[in-house]
């Protein structure tokens, strides 16, 4: 899948800014590697000299090119070799085989403020950090005012940075890095630092850098930022490229895969969140109506732990009442993992009257289009009498699920309101309509 894209690209006139050719990287896992003469000496007598090193291929035969002005996103689970790849590109590691040709200056935002010295002032550290990226003193002098202004550290700039807060430290680090005006900016998750305000500023700076023709290679777990910044994406796993193309498609394929694997793990582990396993204090009530099971399902009624924004969802409550109970109310509380109480529907609000329950039965809450945005959520379930004086059974935030970005591009807040925008201006179609998806959302849940 990769060679065809590459062939197409080589027809273009532009030289690639970055050319990665069949790069592999092997690490020796030397847990027992001799680190000192003493160990060598001891091991010599124990005849263990060559027993230790195991090999591990972090990358295998990776090839791709990045052209000036492009921005490429790399996604993949932890330990998939993404960071290794970035370090290779930055020149910190050397490939075991293959070749990387860089035709310009690279700045790597691998760790903001790497190389800052606590005893030097902010200003001195700007020089030190800038020259670390390969700039000259004059170039740094030219950028100085702009760097200080961006970092908002005006009054503290001549103070030794050991007196800085961690936020100030990061602001200065980002400010220097973005001002080094690299041809290629390598970004590794660093946008997740600083307060919301500064994160916004970083995003803004990165967008402006792109508009000036800058090239970005972004590695992130934040799939939303990959989709919003990048025009191509690579899904990278098991040391190999798994998918390559438009970010939305690649992200979708990746999410499907993640969901599949999580489901597989869950079904392999059997029913992990059995009602019996609820922790002390997580469940209370008189028990005259017991909620014996809760299932989070897709439209087909298959149990899931991952749902997509915009896709249908069912929450199924199974109850048992040993003696007949009149007019109970079943309800749900939905919390975001950050603590926000998002919603609290129940059968009463839903105008579903259940005159009497006896024995075992089922109550289902149907959500036609899930309006939650990406994130982690938990569900509490309750059975209560009509006058709200007797709690029969309550499971507090006992059932977890995740939502991944589906068909929406919204990524702020917790929910999408599903509204429509209009204007009194004559609307024009979007200049770059998104290409059709490889996988329609409706099918995702079935994969």
């Amino acid at each position: 899948m990769f060679t065809s894209a590459k062939d197409k690209m080589t027809d273009q006139l532009d030289d690639p800014l970055l050319d990665v050719r069949n790069v592999s990287k092997r690490f020796r896992l030397h847990s027992e590697q001799q680190r000192s003469f003493q160990e060598i000496f001891v091991n010599f007598f124990q005849r263990k000299r060559y027993s230790s090193s195991k090999e591990f291929w972090a990358l295998r035969d990776v090839s791709f090119q990045v052209r000036p002005g492009e921005s490429l996103g790399i996604i993949g689970p932890n330990g998939s070799g993404k960071s290794t790849l970035l370090k290779l590109l930055a020149g910190i590691l050397e490939p075991t085989t293959g070749e990387i040709v860089v035709n310009g200056r690279i700045s790597a935002l691998l760790e903001l403020g790497a190389g800052f010295h606590p005893d030097l002032t902010g200003r001195e550290n700007i020089f030190l950090n800038g020259t670390l990226y390969g700039l000259s003193r004059q170039e740094m002098q030219k950028q100085m005012e702009s760097i200080i202004e961006f970092s908002e550290l005006n009054e503290f700039i001549d103070v030794p940075i050991k007196h800085y807060s961690s936020g100030m430290y990061v602001r200065l680090g980002f400010s220097v890095a973005i001002h080094t005006e690299p041809d290629l900016l390598l970004v590794d998750e660093v946008l997740a630092v600083g307060d919301a305000n500064f994160q916004h500023k970083c995003m803004d700076a990165i967008q402006r850098y792109r508009q000036r023709g800058g090239t970005i290679l972004l590695v992130s777990h934040d799939l939303g930022s990959i989709e919003s910044i990048c025009d191509r994406a690579i899904w990278y796993e098991h040391g190999r490229v798994q998918a390559f193309g438009h970010p939305t498609d690649v992200v979708m394929q990746y999410l499907n895969n993640v969901a599949e694997k999580e489901e597989a793990v869950r079904s392999a582990a059997g029913k992990s969140r059995s009602v019996d396993q609820l922790a002390e204090g997580q469940r209370w009530g008189t028990g005259r109506v017991e909620i014996i099971d809760v299932k989070l399902c897709d439209a087909e009624g298959i149990e899931r732990s991952i749902f997509l924004t915009g896709a249908p969802m069912q929450i199924r409550l199974y109850y048992r009442a040993d003696k007949p109970i009149e007019d109970p109310i079943f309800g749900i509380a939905l919390h975001h993992h950050n603590g926000t109480w998002v919603a609290g529907p129940n059968t009463d609000f839903g105008d579903l009257s259940i005159p009497r329950v006896e024995g075992e039965g089922e109550v289902v809450y149907h959500i036609p289009k899930l309006s939650l945005l990406a994130g982690g959520y938990s569900i509490s379930v309750a059975a209560v009498n009509r006058s709200d004086t007797e709690m029969y059974d309550y499971h507090d935030r006992a059932y977890q699920f995740r939502v991944h970005t589906g068909n929406t591009r919204e990524r702020y807040g917790v929910v999408t309101l599903g509204g429509q925008w209009t204007t009194d201006q004559k609307p024009t179609p979007r200049p770059n309509p998104r290409p059709a998806r490889a996988v329609p959302v409706e099918k995702v849940a079935q994969v």
Binding site: V23, F27, R35, S36, F37, Q38, P68, K87, L88, A90, G91, I92, L93, E94, P95, T97, G98, E99, I100, V101, V102, N103, G104, R105, I106, A108, L110, E111, A114, G115, H117, D119, L120, E124, F127, L128, T131, L132, Y133, G134, L135, S136, R137, Q143, S146, I178, H179, E181, P182, D183, R208, Y209, R212, G213, G214
Partner: protein, 290 residues
């Protein structure tokens, strides 16, 4: 961020994976010369932050040592008193301090800067070189004071004192070569530092710094071979030659033999080339080894 030009024609095409040529490496090092400057500044500033006397320590330390050695030496060997012993000693001690401090601080320079080596690309040789240069700066400052003292002690400063920068250059080359070699080895074997502690101490006593070479026997018999100690000292120990040259110019007030100096220069260059060769051969792996 005012410019719209993002392409830096000054930045050469960089090729990773294939070996960089020597010329590419040197031009890369040149591109990072300002980093070298700031690392030296950092090292000097960091060392003297919070100490009352600051860089004066570079001078106080040899002066105290001078006092100790003068006392001890005149007590141990009252017969072979060297004229103007303090001046004699300082002419050897200051270059020696440059040598030993240069070697010892640079050994740990790569390992000690692992936060940089793991996070940022730059030519790694900058680190040991910066350590050596920081010590060179200290040495040059100490030299200023040395000249003052030599004047006080009425030492015979040679008319050929203009050769001094050449000797300093030769010594710097020698120290840099050792620094590159040892700092690279230290990445793989952390014992290098401990071993060098002892080696430097032994080296100090084997070099005529606080004693004149003449107090050693001219020849010595081992297993039936007659060894010319004085000759061997100069052949095997470049520091002996270098310190000898300093003394010629600053203490004895004579001319220093040029062919002798030349041989020391060649030795130093060989050490530098070998150290640099070894360093560049293994420096690509520093990112995963430190």
């Amino acid at each position: 961020m005012q410019s719209n030009v993002l392409h830096h024609p000054s930045v050469p095409k960089r090729r990773m994976g294939g070996q960089m040529s020597l010329w590419q490496r040197i031009s890369e090092l040149y591109r990072f010369r300002d980093l070298l400057y700031y690392l030296v500044v950092r090292e000097l500033k960091a060392r003297y932050k919070g100490s009352l006397l600051g860089f004066l320590w570079t001078l106080v330390n040899p002066l105290l040592m001078m006092a100790v050695f003068t006392a001890v030496f005149t007590i141990i060997t009252p017969n072979t008193t060297v004229p103007k012993y303090p001046a004699f000693l300082l002419c050897g001690l200051l270059p020696w301090n440059f040598f030993s401090a240069g070697v010892m601080t640079s050994i740990g320079s790569v390992v000690g800067n692992s936060n940089l080596v793991k996070k940022v690309y730059f030519p790694r040789e900058v680190l040991p070189i910066a350590s050596v240069l920081a010590q060179l700066v200290n040495f040059l400052l100490a030299l200023v004071v040395l000249f003052g003292l030599l004047f006080v002690f009425q030492s015979d400063i040679s008319p050929y004192v203009y050769l001094l920068p050449i000797i300093i250059l030769i010594q710097t080359i020698f120290v840099t070569g050792l620094a590159l070699f040892l700092s690279a080895v230290n990445v793989y074997y952390r014992d290098t530092m401990m071993i060098m502690d002892v080696v430097i101490l032994a080296w100090f006593f084997l070099t005529p710094i606080f004693y004149p070479l003449q107090i050693l026997p001219q020849s010595y018999e081992v297993l039936g071979f007659t060894l010319n100690i004085h000759r061997l000292m100069y052949i095997l120990n470049p520091m002996a030659s270098i310190i000898n040259a300093y003394r010629d110019l600053l203490y004895l007030g004579t001319y220093t033999e040029i062919d002798f100096l030349l041989r020391t220069a060649v030795t130093s260059l060989v050490v530098l080339v070998f150290g640099y060769w070894l360093f560049t051969r293994v420096s690509g792996n520093f990112g995963e080894e430190v």
